[in-house]
């Protein structure tokens, strides 16, 4: 079932992600995907995530499609201009890749080629407009396409950004520019997420709550200090600290969060960041394992 159909069926959607390898060996990426087969509705494929050079997302998506998975092609604006981005998206669509997630992307200076030229010919809002144009049968310069891509287009939002007002105003711009669904940055406080969802519910878009499974109090504090837009509440850090099996506790925290918000949003996007084996456990703990594979 396609991601769009999953959303439209009205059931609680689960997505996760895989990262392409640095190099040509895709075996491990495919193994990770295998671990998640039947448990998630779609797999995001990151695009030189954190500005670290890796095998190209498009090729990784093709590997996944060939293996019978439903990938979400993440497209950032950091490395390619509007010509390259459009031609890659057409290429992806020609391989049957139906989902695109539009991102601005991390700056090159945070990555492993900090001296590279950062492109940013477009940014997320404009990229969404460009994709919308393609799906209507013309390129961004107005020229007709020979074969129109059918794409289900997503974007991201950071509900806990500080300050949050400009972030939410941009969220609305992304909707206007053609985003049909959103996945959020990792969120941990159900109440604050619910207030974000009150705003989001004014719009005809699907929202996946972002989940990063905490594995230790240290990891939680690290994220609070170093990852903008993520706030792990002190109570959760204390819970992890007191735990004898922090990984287990992290899984329970994620499952609890999912159950707290499952009535207000359309699904969850679980970012495993190197611990994909935990995703099935989270789904099981949240009582979702059955539903998704059904």
């Amino acid at each position: 079932m396609s991601l769009r159909d999953a959303f439209e069926s009205g059931r609680f959607v689960v997505t996760s992600e895989v990262g392409p390898p640095k190099g040509t060996d895709v075996a491990e990426m495919l193994e990770t995907a295998e671990l998640l087969r039947g448990r998630v509705d779609a797999l995001n494929v990151t695009d030189n995530q954190a500005a670290v050079m890796r095998l190209c997302t498009l090729a990784a998506c093709v590997h996944l499609v060939n293996a019978g998975h439903e990938p979400v092609y993440q497209v950032t604006c950091r490395d390619r201009n509007r010509l390259a981005i459009q031609s890659d998206i057409l290429g992806a669509a020609s391989f049957g890749i139906a989902n695109v997630l539009a991102l601005t992307g991390d700056h090159v200076v945070v990555g492993d080629h900090p001296e590279a030229k950062a492109v940013f010919d477009l940014e997320s809002v404009q990229l969404l407009e460009v994709i919308e144009t393609l799906t209507k049968g013309t390129d961004f310069a107005g020229k007709e396409l020979h074969g129109t891509p059918e794409l289900y287009v997503g974007a991201v939002v950071t509900p806990d950004a500080v300050p949050v007002k400009p972030q939410l105003a941009k969220f609305e711009k992304k909707i206007e520019a053609g985003a049909r669904y959103f996945q959020t940055q990792a969120v941990y406080d159900p109440e604050s997420f619910k207030s974000f969802m009150e705003l989001a519910r004014h719009f005809d878009v699907k929202v996946l709550a972002g989940i990063v499974v905490l594995r230790s109090a240290r990891m939680a504090s690290f994220m609070n200090r170093n990852i903008p837009g993520i706030t792990v509440p002190d109570a959760l850090i204390a819970e992890l600290e007191a735990s004898e099996d922090p990984t287990r506790t992290g899984i329970e925290i994620a499952a609890r969060f999912i159950n707290d918000v499952r009535d207000v949003c359309d699904g969850v996007h679980i970012m495993a960041v190197g611990a994909e084996h935990l995703v099935p456990e989270v789904l099981e703990a949240a009582g979702l394992a059955q539903e998704v594979s059904a």
Binding site: H107, A118, E123, Q167
Partner: protein, 218 residues
């Protein structure tokens, strides 16, 4: 103004090392205001070069002068560089370029040209404009997103904004500043308008500007 900064002395030395007699030429406009190309800086650099070269056992001679503006032909017309076999310019890139055009000897840059900026108080400047050729400041409350947002984003803050600071940690987030100022100006609705991707073709159109007569780019 054009904001410039002196190159490391070692780099300058390696450029001029093969010459006998070098003329340092300052620029009394932007470069002087940027504390890098005025009379004082020319004198100081001469002393520094002499010292460094002597330590290396080189015998290169250095003298200096300051032009009012290196980027205008009438100011460099009267430069008397006959006895020198190289020029070291303490002007911006445009100054170096114009000097090179009229001189019959190599002209080297003593400065790196950094940005178009404005003063932030004593000896401090901030990049304000990247000469993109199609100004959007009217929609962004006078704060340039092309220049002051690290990614040149035109439609609002990225997810990296961190307590109002840019994710790179080296500046306030331009988009938080734009949003705040639009609110102060009671024009928050301006934020909602989607700014289209930049027309980068103007960068090729405006490789020159000639208003002098026919073919003038207006």
């Amino acid at each position: 103004m054009i904001v410039v900064r002196q190159k490391p002395v070692e780099e300058i030395c390696s450029m001029v090392a093969r010459h006998r007699n070098v003329l340092l030429v300052g620029c009394n406009t932007c470069a002087a205001v940027a504390l890098a190309g005025g009379e004082k800086e020319v004198d100081t650099l001469i002393e520094l070069l002499k010292l460094t070269m002597r330590r290396k056992g080189e015998t290169t001679e250095f003298s200096g002068c300051v032009l009012q503006r290196q980027c205008e032909p009438e100011f460099i017309e009267h430069l008397d560089d006959r006895v020198y076999d190289a020029i070291l310019s303490l002007g911006c890139g445009a100054g170096v370029a114009l000097l090179s055009e009229s001189a019959d000897k190599p002209v080297y840059p003593a400065l790196d040209t950094l940005f178009i900026g404005a003063s932030q108080g004593f000896a401090s400047w901030r990049a304000e404009c990247s000469a993109c050729g199609k100004c959007v400041l009217g929609q962004t409350a006078g704060i340039c997103p092309v220049t002051r947002c690290a990614k040149g984003i035109l439609n609002g803050p990225c997810g990296g904004v961190n307590n109002g600071q840019c994710e790179l940690g080296d500046r306030p987030c331009a988009w938080v500043e734009i949003y705040d100022r639009l609110e102060t100006l009671e024009r928050p609705e301006d934020f909602k308008e989607i700014i289209q991707p930049k027309d980068n073709s103007v960068k090729t159109t405006y490789n020159k500007l000639d208003l002098s007569g026919e073919g003038g780019a207006r």
